[in-house]
Symmetry: C2
Subunit: 545 residues, 2 copies
Amino acid sequence: MKITIAQLDYHIGNFEGNTAKMITAIKNAKEAGSDIICFSELSTCGYPPRDFLEFEDFLSLSDNCLQLLCSHAKDIAIVVGAPSHNKDPKGKNLFNSAYFLADGEVKFVQHKTLLPTYDVFDEYRYFEPAKSWEIVTYKDKKIALTVCEDIWDVGTDDPLYTIIPLDKMQKYSPDFIINISASPFNYGHAKTRIDTVRANVNRYGIPMFYINHCGAQTELLFDGGSIVMSANGVLYDELPYFEECIRHFQLSEVIKGEKNNEQPKVKIALIHDALIMGVKDYFRKLGFTKAILGLSGGIDSAVTAVLAARALGNENVRVLLMPSQFSTGHSVDDAMALVHKLGLKHDIIPIKDMYDSFITKLSPVFSDAPFNVTEENIQARIRGILNMALSNKFGNILLNTTNKSEMAVGYGTLYGDLCGGLSVIGDVYKTEVYELARYINKDEEIIPLNSIIKAPSAELRPDQKDSDSLPEYEILDPILYQYVEKRQGPQDIIDMGYDPTLVRRILRLVNINEFKRHQTSPVLRVSPKAFGMGRRMPIVGKYLN
Amino acid sequence: MKITIAQLDYHIGNFEGNTAKMITAIKNAKEAGSDIICFSELSTCGYPPRDFLEFEDFLSLSDNCLQLLCSHAKDIAIVVGAPSHNKDPKGKNLFNSAYFLADGEVKFVQHKTLLPTYDVFDEYRYFEPAKSWEIVTYKDKKIALTVCEDIWDVGTDDPLYTIIPLDKMQKYSPDFIINISASPFNYGHAKTRIDTVRANVNRYGIPMFYINHCGAQTELLFDGGSIVMSANGVLYDELPYFEECIRHFQLSEVIKGEKNNEQPKVKIALIHDALIMGVKDYFRKLGFTKAILGLSGGIDSAVTAVLAARALGNENVRVLLMPSQFSTGHSVDDAMALVHKLGLKHDIIPIKDMYDSFITKLSPVFSDAPFNVTEENIQARIRGILNMALSNKFGNILLNTTNKSEMAVGYGTLYGDLCGGLSVIGDVYKTEVYELARYINKDEEIIPLNSIIKAPSAELRPDQKDSDSLPEYEILDPILYQYVEKRQGPQDIIDMGYDPTLVRRILRLVNINEFKRHQTSPVLRVSPKAFGMGRRMPIVGKYLN
């Protein structure tokens, strides 16, 4: 038996595009003589469809797509993910289902049992868990069909659920497992995924074909990395990360388990590649080609510009240099060095005239109030207007250049430097931004060295440094990591050896700036806990603040 | 037996404040000779605590609060909602629990069974459903304890869940039901709530005490309206909406069911009162007293200003008039009429100079590109900067004045008129804003009549009218309602008699503007489907666009 894994990039709600892509893959698989082709979770409608699932119209378009796929399920079986209706009036109205199509019709459907409802996942919002578990027999092989999370509660001391669906299917003695997934990337996830597949293979003693979605859905990055694992726990194959791939496997060879094809997993390289895919897919799926961003001469905008250029092409990235009277000389020089290196289209618009016109008009209202954060914010917001003016006039999407450390403590101006359609490095701590810059420069100096070595500054008042307001990032970032990623409380973090006053100050800053994060752009998610849809905090709260 | 309902306004994470408030209520109840006092769902930590529930530190503060309440549970029993740990390693780590405290200790705990996970609710994100159902006996009365949603699956043809917890408790023949809730307001919800309580009372033939939270938690408005219903289905008492209230009830009187005290439920009056509570509580809980907003002379900012003044006091609302060369003469006149009527602090800052300085600086970049939405947006964004400058300088929170119709179709400038810490009327369609204005003017002309009768305009280009870009609101709003609130597809709406081209155009506008709504402020929720946390849509989708 030959099995094809189609690791594809679907587009939410683009039924026509998704179907066409699947039909092309089916033809490819037929030509290769495959018996079964497998797509990923909810591939008809794209994952995650979110509240579109509440629209009957949307669901019927998915049903149409399934029907069309049935007509292609001749001389080949198709495993495809789609929502299905729960016919029992009790419970949620939908299931998240794996369909097995063969002989021109739906031969079998297995619903998903374990519905992830944490972090970025909302599946119990829409779906009822499966209440029954069967397997499907095709060409004398007994196949256990599972959907994503269904395999994730094996081998843990603190299971999230009370049922293990594959345990329920064991009585039928399946020959192998197919898991169709939409499992989003974070920098540690590919390893965990392999460990999880292995825990299942070890428990049941049969091979597994694990098909993941690849491509970006706004903030969620799906890295692919589909897995074929032999019954002996050998990683027979791992499909590439961040790109579409169709591969065919002889089951008899997989059973032998004599090949091991694992890819390297280097954190910064993965983040780099993930962000490029995230930018590329965001633009492509929205139908845009060109980006704009403000280039300050600092490291954050330099790294963002390089990532954007690698995603969209140098010719499609336009930058705006907007020096003020508080900008140091090297700001423009450092920015221009990158402009020349990449050959970016650029404009220089000093903001002083606009700043002065605001200050003149506001002075009767402000009377003698001293210069403070208000005037700093005005500068940042003038830059926001200019960036957006070019975005609007030329149809470029503005990329936000804020890093995760700033995002966490609110070191940024709402409607100013926090503007943008997409935050590229908003899930990358400042210390990791330095790592990214060094990774980008590993073969040659692309990002000007001076942007990397100079002290970070917002340059919104004379001689300003980030370290005037914040601790050094080498101290700040680990504290943020413990609070944001690890959900440690103040005392836990203090017990790790950090200064109590500093810890309380930082945690307070994180919490009182929830209102800013509520209004910022989607953030490409590369860590296990990004700001955005996976971290839901009260704005009006009184905890640690 | 005497039972006290304490309908209180809790503050998320403010354990000290919440505990102090409950202890005061307990003293009050003891003085009234009560046997039991009931607080609402998750009252120790405030509802909804959201991802604070993932912090052990946060949970231990709730446990401390419970311990302190135990020490007050002498000569009185206390029913209080709090998170509790699930000791079974399987499943989620927490329950959403109703505690029964008596004789200085925890006498009984019943966990919540039905965990709302739809619209604004995320409870299965955190909680495991109850697996067992018992009742508590106190002073010879058998009491069935339930938490909010637990009673909501009775009397529906399409139940969301597969279990009815009160059915499970029936074998113990309880004497009455206590339900502790945190059930947020929408303009139709108070009636539904009474119907639901009645469906339960009818099914089980015993009285119910239903205790709701009151007060605002950012976008979520809890209206109180706690219910005491006799076994015969008579609404013995309904506590006031939008205010704290403590009332004591003789069980023997409730059982007689001879009193009926239902409050009037007039949609616009409810919305009016809800929005005022929402503004008031947002400021109070954040520790702010003063608001600022841009006053354009149009109806949206006028209604917002009146609501803000009623919430915060006229002296705490400051307005900014920012005419441009495209503003009509009546804009400033109409705005000033309201300023004088309410005695608001105001400033007039024409934006022409700032606009000209932007255009001058941008003209080399724009060269001969014609005036378009870019220049309109620059005006709106200059106003955004000015509003935020006063907000920053004087510590006022900027109120957003966008209505739901505009929010839906993206008729507003991101980082411009969409700025603000809180959207006051973002869940009120334009046609409902007119109703609100007429309601505000019911006794005297507060909002200038001209603001109400003139044609709506953004005044961002010469002679502009909303109707240049949009259909009349009398046509737009019902179409939006069908799509947003009722989740009808395009064909369903066309079948209601609307123009197919118009319907498709409007639905497309709603979908392509998801990116704007992603970056706007929280919206006070008054409808069954508001933009914000209760409506989760892909940004990069390809459905109906």
